[in-house]
């Protein structure tokens, strides 16, 4: 079977159902689907195990922040690659900012260990089951997650660093 976006989407939906896979589109030729927290690990495991697809390489994963999307402010994006077929797929999971919890993918892809720590560091998404979920690039004592789209000044009384000097 040649892997096309339609074929792969049909396979995934017949396996996981319409209620778990939605919003499929191809913004840049890479099929992008949205799923929920409950199916994400099973879905990636299925893509790995399926003999036809053989999507067995985790290209990247990261967090995204949409401060204006009520109820789904945070997103975790996985990008996978089938080296056998040179086929790419992108999977997104949205969640509310006050419930930023995801299951870990480290049991399947060891490389996601670093990426999940980075996502936790910069976005505050907690990955349940991660073996060492601590800050990785920023200083430990930091009290905020810097990639969230909030830009408070450190010291509100400073006049040499008001927003107009920084183009904000």
């Amino acid at each position: 079977m040649e892997l096309t976006n339609e074929n792969v989407l049909g396979k995934i939906i017949s396996k996981f159902g319409e209620e778990n896979i939605w919003d499929a589109f191809s913004p840049d030729g890479i099929m992008t689907i949205t799923t929920n927290r409950a199916s994400i690990i099973d879905l990636i495991q299925y893509l790995y195990d399926d003999e036809e697809l053989q999507i067995r390489f985790l290209t990247t994963m990261c967090g995204i922040h949409y401060p204006d999307h009520k109820g789904k402010e945070l997103c975790v994006m996985y990008q996978l690659h089938s080296l056998r077929h040179n086929y790419r797929i992108r999977i997104k999971v949205f969640m509310p900012a006050d419930d930023a919890v995801m299951p870990t993918l480290t049991n399947l892809y060891a490389t996601s260990n670093w990426m999940e720590r980075e996502t936790f560091d910069f976005y505050g998404v907690k990955f349940v089951g991660h073996p060492n979920l601590t800050r990785i690039l920023n200083i430990e004592e930091m009290e905020y997650h810097p990639m969230l789209k909030q830009y408070p000044l450190e010291d509100q009384t400073r006049e040499d660093k008001i927003d107009t000097y920084f183009g904000r």
């Binding site: 930091m142 810097p146 000044l153 450190e154 660093k161 920084f166």
Partner: protein, 184 residues
């Protein structure tokens, strides 16, 4: 030989009482004079200001003529910590540790906008001035400052060193200052 010996400028003696065969002055002034002309800088350079400092070390500007011969790249026996450049927050504990390893009396110069205030980098990762981590004696403005400005900063520390009371480092004010930075 040449007459170049006439060009050598000697440091003026401090105020004191002199007579036939003796000269008396206060211990504090002698120590201050010695400290002033034997400062040993420890350069802690990270970015553009560090490059300016390299020019300051070169033969045109020659920071060594102030007795600060051979910058020490170790805190051992160094007495000025010169922090030049952007200090990331992750680097803050390192600056503090280097400062703690230096022996008293020690002075600190923050060179340039970044070391003094974080500069243009009002970001999550940059320390907004090294005075959040260690006490600073002299701030050198500029982005980056010219070598003349760095030399001026050094000369201001020389003034501090010359006029500092020997008991200052034991004073409760100084202890409180260090305690406010959580240093010993």
């Amino acid at each position: 030989m040449s007459d170049s010996n006439n060009d050598i400028k000697l440091v003026d003696a401090p105020d004191g009482v002199s007579g036939a065969g003796f000269f008396a002055t206060s211990f504090e002034k002698v120590i201050g004079l010695a400290r002033k002309h034997s400062l040993w800088p420890l350069p802690f350079a990270t970015s553009c200001c560090g490059i300016e400092y390299m020019a300051t070390m070169g033969s045109n500007y020659d920071i060594s003529r102030f007795g600060s011969e051979r910058p020490s790249f170790s805190p051992r026996q160094a007495d000025i910590l010169m922090v030049m450049g952007t200090i990331a927050k992750k680097m803050g504990p390192v600056v503090k540790q280097v400062y703690e390893q230096m022996a008293e009396p020690r002075w600190v110069i923050a060179v340039g906008a970044c070391a003094s205030s974080g500069g243009i980098f009002d970001t999550y990762s940059v320390l907004q001035g090294i005075d959040r981590v260690v006490p600073v004696d002299v701030y050198v403005p500029g982005c980056p400052p010219r070598p003349e400005q760095i030399l001026d900063g050094l000369m201001r520390v020389q003034e501090l060193a010359e006029n500092e009371s020997l008991r200052r480092r034991n004073s409760p004010e100084y202890q409180a200052l260090l305690a406010s930075y959580n240093i010993k």
